[in-house]
């Protein structure tokens, strides 16, 4: 798997996700025509498409507000900006993306945005405080690699579109099984809700699965190591993330896959019941091992816990 192949695969998958979403909206609208009539169905269709376009255009901002990230000026933290400028130059990006700060003590980072001009890198204040310069640079290089490999566009799109589907199916699921008072006499609405949930859930899962190739994280780690010429820095950064067990407050099913490491241990919120179906990130231990093999070094073994 070379970088070019990954970039091409990402382009193709982006098209699939968009087409999949469009098809889903159309099917949903057609199915609902039975209940809300033709004009209602057209309205639903229009709403779905409008939401899609809106989401595509504002994906970066939507994720910014989901994760409570706010723009960081260069004058606020010139050192951090210098690091990301250097990393962007070394990666050959035409421009340096801006940094957004998430006020959260858990160390983590992500990249989001659908258009080149709206892409940014989000960093938690915990990461900024915890990481020494060398490892911070490696984390930024990992995020910049996601941007260069065109992962970010696909992952952002998946977060926004699939997030909506997961939300609807989750809502339907709850309505179906926890809606009525007595469990015996289910009304037709609950039955329909159950069907919707059962149909939507696997589709959402497949779409997310496509976006969440575990290979992508390995590739971004490897790219970051190549950009900095320093695989050990990336491995050390991952080890530090591994040792920290705090969780990011504003991260859920829809945004979890954007982060450098899984931001939550147990996924809460919309789509929770899907969370068992797939893992957003390969285990950190595996990622560290891949870097150790590539760079020909060994980190100190983990101190025994428990």
């Amino acid at each position: 798997m070379t970088l070019q192949q990954q970039i091409r695969a990402n382009r193709l998958r982006t098209v699939y996700v968009v087409l999949g979403f469009a098809a889903l909206v159309a099917v949903f609208a057609a199915a609902s025509a039975v209940f809300v009539g033709r004009s209602g169905a057209i309205g639903l269709l229009a709403f779905g498409l409008a939401y899609g376009i809106f989401a595509w255009w504002n994906a970066g901002r939507l994720i910014g507000s989901l994760t409570h990230a706010s723009p960081l000026q260069k004058s606020d933290d010139p050192e951090l900006y210098r690091l990301i400028e250097n990393v962007s130059i070394a990666a050959g990006l035409p421009a340096t993306p801006p940094i957004y700060l998430v006020d959260d003590p858990a160390p983590n980072a992500f990249a989001a945005g659908s258009r080149p001009s709206s892409i940014y890198v989000g960093v938690t204040s915990g990461l900024r405080k915890l990481m020494p310069t060398r490892e911070l640079e490696a984390v930024l290089a990992h995020e910049i690699s996601h941007i260069r490999n065109k992962d970010v566009r696909l992952m952002t799109l998946a977060a926004v579109l699939v997030g909506l589907i997961a939300m609807i199916s989750d809502f339907a699921f709850r309505m179906a099984f926890f809606g009525g008072r007595g469990s015996r006499d289910r009304n037709p609405v609950q039955l329909i809700a159950a069907i919707v949930a059962l149909v939507l859930a696997p589709i959402a899962a497949v779409m997310l699965q496509m976006a969440l190739s575990r290979r992508r994280e390995f590739l971004a780690d490897a790219s970051a190591a190549a950009i900095l010429n320093d695989p050990e820095a990336m491995a050390l950064a991952l080890r530090r993330l591994q040792l920290d067990t705090s969780e990011v407050a504003y991260a859920d099913r829809a945004t979890a896959h954007l982060f450098i490491e899984s931001p939550t241990r147990a996924v809460k919120g919309p789509g929770a019941f899907l969370s068992g179906l797939f893992q957003t990130h390969p285990p950190l231990e595996e990622r560290i091992k891949a870097l150790e093999e590539a760079g020909g070094f060994r980190l100190d073994a983990l101190p025994a816990t428990s």
Partner: protein, 185 residues
Amino acid sequence: MTWIWIVVAIVVVLLLVGIYLFNRIVRLRNEVNTGWSNIDVQLKRRNDLIPNLVEAVKGYAAHERGVFEEVTNARAAMANASSPAAAGAADSLLGQALGRLFAVAEAYPDLKASTNFLQLQSDLTDTEDKISAARRYYNATVLAYNNAIQTFPSLLFAGVFGFHPREFFAADQDDRAPVAVSFQS
């Protein structure tokens, strides 16, 4: 008759492969050019900083003429360097000259405390870091391009179309050696 069609098919396939390889090399060459212009931007920025830095030091240590001359000459050599290899050589000379300039500055506490000097010093460090970042990218693009035109079958026609190997921008002694990183699975 059939052998004519076979020949035609072979020619068409060869032509398609040739077009693919040609386009790939052009793309790689464009990346090398972008990589070099990234370095050039940072080298120009540093060349613009140096006169200010020399002036700032002169204000406190006007009699240290030898160092100023050395820095000015090295800067001129850097500005006139025509190839990446020459620029790399001029770059290491300039680095040494700047090192001496800062050694001189060490002896003047007032100078070291002046905000102007501190600002220039931090700008210069920043630019040096960016040069080395841009160098990593450029050298990686040169490696990819040179590999593409020097391997079979591209090497058969690369020379004919005017694709020639490009020079690396020499790395400093203290730079980390390149590591090969392969992608798992």
